[in-house]
């Protein structure tokens, strides 16, 4: 379970005319992960799928854009698997191009209507503003013999620069109102001389004229009504445009679904494209496949391909190890834990997959730090109730809750009550020293296991020096175990012991010498760095072991918190007591539960993963055929 699924490197040679069929067969087998490295054969330099891929991408983008404007009812289902050749893909792409061109015109007309509506609104605002003035506004509407008038709006952020530019053209700018991002203004200046100059500036500044209606000074109400009518007309035009578009788009809904099916069938070849090379009529494809799936892969290819093909398989070479994808854990119960492991990284091929170990130690530590039958049951029940929201993660909540319940029975704790349930073992508060000792022992076991796994992982990838001398390697483990041995001797009142002292000092010396050999620096700096490194090794193992005391501390803290809540509750009346106990329990579940979760994750990631898990692998993502359209 801890070891990765054995993988094989697959090399497939087919005729180029069979490429589409090969891609469909591989997608149906769902066990082929493309290897995009160029082939060793220098002549295989062609990229036969490039044009196909380009057409696919254009068609896909168009379909996506059309889909946003014409949301069709159901996503199409793929019923029949058939080969999509380039001419068919091209014709679909071109048809989608025509449809998108029409959709784009529709969008553009909508935009123009929006723009016009915006302008009408600005005009209404300007009119309302001018209506209160007691001047002849007819003067602003037309040019006079000596003066030019421009009334309009400009984006607010351009106003300051426009002011200077207008000044250079011997005009005067007067902003009279601000609405949203726009400023309403009047520009006045001498007629004739710099009209063209000003025109180009106004264009650059995004100036929009607001035509002042005729007879504004006499009948503003009728002008407002006119603008309001125009707004209604725009609304009507928009509705007409929408309904015409809806009628038009309904006519090709079926064809659009067909186009989606074509793209679904073309997709596997496009995904494989970076891994395909060719020379003349011969195409090459490489990838990775789990060893157990090879037979089925071959059968699929034999069923699907029209022409002969060659399928060669071999074990991954040691230099290829970082490139081999790792098949993720499939066990349903372990999947939520696998998601958490992925937050740290994917196991490299050959490396031990820490998920089962992580799951077991996580549940053990969480339960022991938060052992309560009632509160654990609440956590499990909430996770069950919210399973639609939590997705696969709900199992994580249920298992954490059940672990808490199990430890609750051991500790005899039910919603903080210590008297209702007979403890199968004992309450943590009855013997805190024992709890602390157990936590320390657990820490030693955890760290020693982590070091052992680190040694194994390095040996598997052929890193012998790293396994012996590297961080948390064999020498480190030897030092740690001798330190623990000596510590135990001290704990039982004896001397540290000669042998443990010799082993600890010796291993530290070996580490120092190894550090010295690998360091390139001036003598003084070398001495300082090696000294600090050695000191850091001692301190980190001691502090990391002590770090596990938090397990005992939280199990004690849980009982202590419950006692505090009951003490508070005892100071209240009946109703207050019930409320305090309920709220207290809720507080413990939310706050203490959250803190315990973080603490356990910290121990797992920092004390465990950081020691033995590189997380530098990549996940096996086999080529698959999507059976349903849509994104």
């Amino acid at each position: 379970m801890l070891r990765p699924l054995p993988m094989k490197h697959v090399r497939l040679l087919v005729l180029t005319e069979d490429l589409q069929r090969a891609s469909l067969a591989l997608a149906q087998a769902e066990s082929f992960h493309a290897d995009t490295r160029p082939p060793e054969e220098a002549r295989l330099t062609g990229a036969p799928g490039r044009r196909y891929g380009e057409l696919f991408r254009i068609a896909h983008a168009r379909l996506d854009k059309i889909g946003k404007l014409t949301p069709s009812g159901n996503a199409p289902q793929l019923q029949e698997v058939r080969v999509i050749l380039e001419p068919e893909l091209q014709s679909v792409t071109e048809w989608l191009g025509e449809i998108w061109s029409e959709c784009s015109r529709y969008e553009e007309r909508h935009r123009r209507l929006d723009d016009e509506e915006r302008l009408v609104k600005e005009q209404e605002a300007a009119l309302a503003n001018f209506a209160n003035l007691d001047i002849d506004l007819g003067m602003l509407r037309k040019k006079t013999r000596f003066l030019d008038f421009y009334v309009g709006i400009v984006p607010r952020e351009n106003l300051h620069r426009l002011e200077g530019a207008v000044k250079l053209a011997d005009h005067f700018l007067y902003p009279y109102m601000t609405s949203g991002d726009n400023t309403h203004l009047v520009i006045v200046g001498p007629a004739g001389t710099k009209e063209a100059q000003l025109g180009s500036v106004l264009q650059a500044a995004g100036f929009q004229h607001l035509a002042l209606p005729e007879g504004l000074d006499r009948e503003p109400d009728s002008k407002l009504a006119e603008l309001s009518r125009r707004r209604r007309e725009i609304e009507e035009e928009r509705r007409t445009l929408d309904s015409r578009f809806a009628r038009w788009s309904a006519g090709f809904e079926g064809r659009l679904q067909d186009a989606q099916r074509v793209l679904l069938l073309a997709e596997p070849l496009v995904i494989l494209d970076p891994a395909i090379r060719s020379s003349g009529h011969l195409a090459y494809l490489a990838g990775w496949s789990p060893a157990y799936a090879l037979q089925r892969l071959r059968e699929r290819l034999e069923e699907g391909l029209e022409h002969p093909f060659t399928l060669e398989t071999r074990d991954p070479r040691s230099d290829e190890r970082p490139l081999v994808p790792t098949v993720p854990v499939r066990n349903r119960l372990l999947q939520p834990f696998s998601m958490l492991v992925k937050q740290y990284g994917i196991p490299q091929y050959g490396e031990i997959d820490p998920t089962p170990l992580f799951a077991a130690t996580f549940l053990l530590m969480f339960g022991s730090m938060f052992g309560d039958v009632g509160q654990g049951a609440v956590i499990a029940a909430v996770a069950w109730y919210w399973r639609p929201r939590l997705g696969r993660f709900y199992l994580f909540g249920i298992m954490a809750g059940l672990s808490s319940v199990a430890f609750g029975f051991l500790f005899g704790s039910l919603f903080g009550y210590e008297q209702l349930l007979p403890a199968l073992w004992m309450s943590p508060l009855h013997d805190p020293i024992l709890m602390l000792r157990l936590a320390l022992a657990w820490g030693v076991l955890f760290l020693a296991t982590a070091c052992t796994l680190a040694i194994y992982n390095r040996l598997v990838v052929g890193n012998l020096a790293g396994a012996i001398f590297g961080p948390h390697g064999l020498i480190n483990l030897l030092f740690y175990l001798s330190l623990v041995w000596g510590g135990l001797n001290l704990a039982i009142g004896e001397a540290f012991g000669l042998l443990p002292l010799f082993l600890a000092t010796g291993s530290l010396l070996v580490l120092a010498v190894d550090g010295w050999r690998h360091l390139e620096a001036p003598l003084g700096e070398k001495i300082l760095v090696v000294f600090i490194q050695t000191l850091e090794t001692v301190i980190s193992y001691v502090s990391n072991t002590l770090s596990f005391l938090r397990i005992a501390a939280f199990s004690l803290n849980h009982v202590a918190l419950a006692i505090a809540i009951f003490t508070l509750a005892d100071m209240m009346g009946t109703f207050g007591r019930v409320v305090t106990i309920v709220l207290g329990n809720l507080f413990m579940i939310l706050l203490e539960g959250g803190i315990v979760l973080i603490q356990v994750l910290r121990l797992e990631f920092y004390e465990g993963f950081a020691r033995y898990f590189s997380g530098e692998g990549h996940e096996f993502t086999p080529l698959r055929m999507r059976r349903t359209g849509g994104n």
């Binding site: 061109s101 553009e108 984006p155 952020e157 200077g164 530019a165 100059q197 180009s200 650059a204 995004g206």
Partner: protein
């Protein structure tokens, strides 16, 4: 920023400043062959790839930009939100180049792959808040502008649309984008109310001075824009090219008059300039000096960090020019001219008298 953060930033900048090229180093680099040069700056793996010289050149440029932006990311770590926003605003220069490439590509109906090849890969912190995927998938300029209008760049898109629909000229559109970039930078500087303000004003002022003078000369005398329109495209600087001076300079009718009316020290830098490129080179020198002054003589870390990034960008551009010269197998003499180690002895650009004649736009 706390005192400790300032001290850390200043130390970090001082250490990084050791990477800047000095004139002796530049002269030595200009004599090195391509492989040695690439090897020295960890670019040899790119040259070893089986790519064409254009693709190699592009990959090298991308690698140098990544170097600059990773240094930028390192420098902003100890900074507070305000300083970080300023430095990131400066770094968005490359994102705006991407935006312009996209617009230009769509305008000239270029192939998607060709546009993609010319886009820089940028870290998320200096990317513009834009729907890049939608913009890239747009099939023409109008569609591109519609997508732009849906985001925070709606005002610029609306302006750009009006400019595009009326003139079909990418120049005006790009000028609007550039203008907005520098205005944002100036706005960020104006938000400082501490010891950083003065050195930042001086440094960003030098950046704006250079941009303003070059735009002024180009817009007025190359593209024949009116004084009003030219002024509209400029961003008043904190430094020498402030609003009143710009108003005065745009009204002048010849390049010589503009150069003669420049305040010191720009007047000295620009005298005897043979062409607009010459002026550009000298303004680059002015910016270089200002940045070097900020890096060496100023205390606040933010201004020093920005000065370092400006100088580092200049250095990396120079390195890129040297490598490109090697890739294109240009004669050593031409490469020396390109990195300003030698004066050109041929008219590399329009002479002043020629450029002085206002040209009508097509």
């Amino acid at each position: 920023m706390s005192f400790a953060d300032q001290a850390y930033l200043n130390t970090r900048v001082s250490i990084m400043a050791a990477r800047l090229f000095d004139p002796v180093q530049i002269a030595a680099m200009a004599e090195e062959d391509l492989q040695t040069l690439a090897g020295r700056f960890d670019l040899a793996p790119i040259l070893d790839q089986s790519l064409g010289s254009r693709a190699k050149s592009r990959a090298i440029e991308q690698a140098l930009i990544q170097t600059l932006l990773s240094e930028l990311t390192l420098l902003i770590r100890p900074m507070g939100p305000q300083a970080r926003a300023l430095i990131l605003s400066w770094g968005r220069l490359f994102a705006l180049i991407n935006l312009k490439t996209l617009i230009r590509g769509k305008l000239y109906d270029l192939d998607g792959d060709e546009i993609a090849e010319n886009l820089y890969e940028l870290p998320s912190n200096v990317r513009l808040d834009l729907p890049h995927k939608d913009l890239f998938r747009a099939e023409n300029v109008l569609e591109l502008l519609r997508r732009l209008e849906q985001g925070p760049y709606r005002l610029i898109a609306r302006q750009a649309r009006e400019i595009y629909e009326l003139r079909h000229e990418p120049f005006a559109l790009e000028a609007t984008i550039d203008q907005r970039y520098f205005a944002a930078l100036a706005h960020q500087v104006a938000q400082f109310h501490d010891a950083n303000l003065q050195p930042l004003q001086r440094l960003v002022g030098a950046l704006l001075d250079r941009a303003d003078l070059m735009w002024l000369l180009r817009f007025r005398f190359r593209y024949g824009l009116s004084p009003s329109e030219t002024f509209y495209h400029l961003v008043p600087s904190f430094g020498l090219m402030h609003r009143e001076r710009l108003l005065e300079l745009v009204n002048l009718d010849a390049i010589e008059s503009v150069l003669a009316a420049l305040p010191p020290p720009l007047d000295k830098l620009s005298t005897h300039s043979a062409s607009i490129i010459d002026v550009q080179k000298r303004m680059g020198t002015h910016l270089y000096r200002e940045a070097l002054h900020t890096l060496r003589d100023e205390r606040p870390g933010v201004a020093r960090a920005l000065a370092y990034l400006i100088l580092r960008r200049m250095d990396l551009q120079l390195l890129f020019a040297l490598i490109q010269g090697g890739l294109l197998e240009l004669p050593r003499d031409i490469v020396r001219i390109a990195v300003e180690l030698a004066e050109p002895n041929c008219p590399a650009d329009t002479t002043l008298s020629e450029a002085s004649k206002p040209r009508a736009r097509d």
